[in-house]
């Protein structure tokens, strides 16, 4: 992995995007052409003082970070007063079916992004996003809302449900239970946010 991505954030992101384009062409035979590539959503002023949210992959045809699930995630974040954040999908290349092997391959870009945005801690949305940081699986129903991992330097990783879980409504699922889970998880995360992010 090349960490010498220039000196400014813009240069680093530009180099990262260039590398991802080459990677997509080599591994997935996907040519971006003149299309824009979306790596992260956030404000540059928050670099070094934010949380990084690793979410499910972007929908192939939808506008980046504007589909139903991202809107719901932004709603959750504003509800819990989390304003300084960066949002990145666990898989960056447009693809129909994203497997865990794909996410593992793409994990090096997520890792580089962690180096660029320098978060205070990381929030993983969904069970598959775990493969962006670990080679093993965590059971979401057992470990949601908890700290599931830590880097050697003490960067914490929290796990919670992705917004699709709340948006998908079926007859046998109790919405009040989902609301309870959402409150439980995001209260833990927002408390940690208040402690670490200034």
């Amino acid at each position: 992995m090349d960490l010498f991505y220039g000196s400014t954030v813009e240069e680093q992101l530009k180099a990262l995007k260039k590398d991802i384009k080459a990677f997509a062409l080599a591994h997935y035979n996907y040519d971006y052409g003149h299309k824009r590539i979306y790596v992260a959503f956030g404000e540059q002023a928050n670099i070094g003082n934010n949380i990084l949210i690793v979410s499910t992959p972007l929908a192939k045809d939808a506008k980046a970070f504007e589909d139903k699930n991202y809107q719901y995630l932004k709603h959750i974040l504003s509800t819990y007063n989390i304003s300084k954040f960066f949002l990145t999908p666990n898989f960056l290349i447009p693809k129909d079916h994203v497997s865990t092997a794909d996410i593992k391959l793409c994990s090096k870009w997520t890792e580089t992004l962690v180096d660029i945005v320098q978060p205070k801690f990381i929030v993983i949305l969904g069970e598959d996003s775990v493969f962006s940081f670990f080679r093993r699986k965590f059971i979401l129903r057992d470990h949601h809302g908890t700290k599931v991992g830590i880097s050697p330097q003490g960067l914490e990783i929290y796990l919670t449900y992705s917004p699709d879980y709340y948006n998908e409504k079926s007859e046998y699922e109790d919405p009040s239970f989902k609301n309870f889970i959402r409150d439980n998880d995001w209260t833990t995360i927002s408390n940690r946010y208040k402690e670490l992010v200034k």
Binding site: Q44, D115, I150
Partner: protein
Amino acid sequence: MPTFNFRDVNKSKYKNIDHWTPLVEHTVAFISYDGEYPNLCSGTLRVMVDDDIYIFPRRALGSGGTCGAGNNWEATHGPWYITQWPNDPIFQDEKVRKAVTDVVNTSVRQGCCGGCA
């Protein structure tokens, strides 16, 4: 605009992703074992690790007991040990191996059953 200093790649905080430490233990659960008298030790074991079901090779269990002829034909019981593991990297973890062995010992009645005597 925030600026970055050039970093030495050897001093990078996130050089190797495998250095991230999980704080959560694996979840191991017993599913089934179809060995029974007179071949208690030659069944097929199914175990669930982190919500994935793994099928062990046949005769993967070894009985800690013995059977033989002394004054009478008799069989002694002992804890199970596992001789063959599924071909998956998750079983290279010593903690997982110990957890699977423990769950087998609490779920399958101990041999030897004496069927081979």
